[in-house]
Symmetry: C2
Subunit: 205 residues, 2 copies
DNA sequence: GTCTATACCTCGATAGAC
DNA sequence: GTCTATCGAGGTATAGAC
């Protein structure tokens, strides 16, 4: 049987990531065994160690690649030259779109932080903090431009992110509200929370 | 040594709950062993089974008593005869006050849901739903009274709860903001989100 | 009520054959 | 790259002595 060298390896590697993500999201890192993951991939447990040095690295890779993808998506969506109102709208839409599309990875990213080693935890936290800083910069800009009226910038930023991420706890594909409606609803809530007048349109100072 | 019969048992029972809560909050249900809990309590592992039939019941009891306390606190704080604005303020303050005072129990209540058996999960979910319904009733009332302008009631309720509960992820005793300041900040955010005019005071229609 | 001892199971990780 | 076999550790829960 002719088979491209390495092609089987790539299949197993991606299956490993996919099944590990699925199982850990459902049962938790500590509750999922390497044997379970191997069974889901369709190999014996020893074979997994050709792809990951240990279980911890597997978890870290899942979280790190998720955060890297999020940061990259925001870097592409943001326009630092735009008004704060406009940037805030982009942030809200990107956050919802990105997170609702990957519920399992999002779930892992806040549920499994405590199962990281201290070094790995610090790396993930730095990326998360960088993402949060993107939002607080927008809030600071909005206050300077006079379009937003809110109190403590850090608290407001954390509140907005918590509110948006919370959508993942109840959103289900094919539910009562579609993603476009959800984006609009959350956008209205966020704009009200930071004191943007109800009549103001994004993009105007 | 004269000792009140049963007093030693009560001490162990409460120590068991306290240490189990602390350890599970820190490491997760699946990662904490009955041996670890026993060591923290100061007994051997066999002794724990005089207080709980198994590990699962221990987890369920911790979550159920937390939710019961929350529902009782809200029943006492709420005034169904008041205006929606006033009731919303009470809800925000109670939620923050209650949750910031019990970070470990709050953490368990959303992190360990998946480690409950289906039956136990359904019981906890019913209590959580009942709490959420308290808020959505307020939002519906506010819309009817004309003091609030928001969209989907269920989405708005979930968004508010997620925003408020998020405070637990960053709040630390003795931090930059005290609890009174935090309550005020979140109250402003919530009132803005549901479209209560910035000038309006709670208690006014 | 708590102890010691233990039954029985599953874990992560490795070794060596193919 | 994957298999089988295995090591040493640690898991929940129970039995029976005190």
């Amino acid at each position: 049987m002719a088979r491209t060298p390495g092609s089987r390896a790539e299949t197993t590697a991606s299956a490993l990531r996919r099944e590990a993500l699925r199982l850990i999201a459902r049962h938790g890192y500590a509750a999922v065994s390497m044997r379970q993951i191997a069974a889901a991939v369709g190999v014996q447990v020893g074979a997994l160690y050709a792809y990951t040095p240990d279980k911890q690295s597997l978890l870290y890779d899942l979280l790190a690649s998720h955060m890297q993808a999020l940061l990259a998506a925001w870097a592409e969506a943001d326009d630092p030259a735009a008004t704060a109102d406009d940037r805030l709208e982009r942030f809200v839409r990107l956050h919802l779109r990105f997170n609702l599309a990957r519920p399992e990875a999002v779930f892992l990213s806040y549920m499994e932080l405590r199962n990281l080693t201290p070094d790995n935890f610090a790396r993930i936290e730095a990326m998360r903090r960088s993402y949060e800083d993107g939002l607080t910069a927008i809030l600071t800009q909005g206050q300077a431009e006079g379009s937003m009226r809110h109190g403590d910038v850090r608290l407001t930023g954390m509140a907005i992110i918590a509110m948006l991420t919370g959508a993942n706890t109840w959103y289900r594909e094919g539910g009562r509200l579609d993603r476009a409606q959800i984006e609009q609803e959350y956008l209205t809530l966020v704009r009200g929370a930071v004191g943007i007048p109800a009549g103001a349109l994004a993009g105007q100072a």
